[in-house]
């Protein structure tokens, strides 16, 4: 889906959700849930409870303020990540002010020097990909398997895996570039 298609599709979904269409909401939600979860999970230092708390607030805000989402200015995923950044920033300020919840893995301050780091960008880009793309990229770049080994493990031909790998890389690079280009 190119940028124009994405804009048009998300604009349609947005209108439908504002009219109260639950199916349209499900489509938007499914598209953004994984990337947002990864983004928040990493910012929360892997703390599951904290991640859940932040996500609850994020999604509540996203539904309430969906009218403010402008598909022409960016994707839905990038918009919800912007919402998450603000929630995380507020949370960080609150914990610093109150001196509470100083756990081993505190919420990382957004806007700090290492923000966003390469690992986070890659993880978020990965989370936005379909499952088969994620699997083949992990097999290739995380487990260091050859194409033949991946084909053997997944009971597919090497040609099919090469093709899948090419498409997965293209999709990943597109997602990564979008994330890299965001503030």
């Amino acid at each position: 889906m190119d940028a124009e298609d994405r804009t048009s599709w998300e604009a349609t979904l947005r209108r439908a959700v504002l009219d109260g269409d639950e199916t349209a909401w499900r489509a938007l939600y499914d598209r953004a849930f994984d990337p947002l979860w990864v983004f928040v999970h990493r910012r929360c230092g892997g703390d599951a409870a904290w991640t859940e708390e932040i996500l609850q607030e994020c999604w509540t805000i996203v539904v309430r303020r969906l009218r403010w989402f402008d598909p022409a200015r960016g994707s839905f995923v990038s918009w919800v990540r912007g919402v998450a950044r603000n929630v995380l920033r507020n949370e960080w300020r609150r914990t610093r002010r109150e001196g509470e919840r100083q756990v081993a893995a505190p919420v990382r301050e957004p806007g700090s020097g290492s923000d966003p780091d390469l690992g986070e960008q890659i993880a978020v880009a990965m989370a936005s990909l379909p499952g088969p793309y994620r699997d083949v990229l992990r097999a290739k770049y995380q487990d260091d398997l050859t194409v033949a080994e991946i084909a053997n493990r997944s009971h597919k031909t090497t040609k099919a895996i090469e093709s899948l790998l090419t498409r997965a890389r293209t999709a990943f690079r597109g997602a990564y570039r979008r994330i890299e280009g965001e503030p």
């Binding site: 639950e22 999970h41 509540t60 309430r64 990229l137 770049y141 990943f172």
Partner: protein, 167 residues
């Protein structure tokens, strides 16, 4: 054909740490947040429907009230026709010369006016006597001042014809 061993990101040979192999989002969290947010979307739909219904009721009520007030207003009455002033002489004599005799004492202007009225009445369908009307109009033109030769908007066809024939 692309190289199957090309790096995932150009210029980056090793992908850092757990970037690719991070934990997946828990399904329970995904489902619970979906249920919660879907409930908010549903509530929005109900709110919109309620607002639309309220707006429809308001519009209907406004329309009904307007109709009610229109019915409550007294119907505009047709203007009461003013009683037509009866001419001084309700009955026209069969012979218009009788009129001339009656007007013997009147001034020329009074006679001219009276003969004009009489000509109109003889032409009226109630009398339908063009010959008597012709006689009256001729007498009217004979008695009237010069300006009476000008065709007026109230002049009937016969009087107009006579005026146009007057040299």
């Amino acid at each position: 054909m692309t190289d199957p061993n090309e790096p995932l990101i150009e210029g980056l040979d090793d992908v850092p740490g757990d970037a690719l192999d991070g934990p997946d989002a828990p399904d329970e969290l995904r489902a619970s947040l979906l249920a919660r947010t879907t409930g908010m979307v549903r509530a929005r739909r109900r709110r919109r429907h309620a607002l639309r219904a309220a707006a429809a009721v308001l519009i209907f009520a406004a329309g009904a009230a307007t109709g009610q007030s229109l019915r409550a207003d007294p119907a505009p009455t047709a203007p009461t026709p003013r009683p037509v002033a009866k001419k001084s002489e309700d009955t026209l004599p069969t012979n218009p010369e009788v009129l001339v005799a009656r007007l013997a004492e009147a001034t020329p202007d009074e006679r001219a006016r009276a003969m004009r009225d009489a000509g109109d009445r003889y032409l009226d369908p109630a009398h339908a006597d063009p010959a008597a009307a012709l006689y009256c109009y001729q007498r009217h033109l004979a008695e009237a001042t010069e300006t009476s030769d000008v065709v007026g908007v109230d002049d009937g066809w016969l009087l107009t014809y006579l005026k146009l024939q007057t040299p």
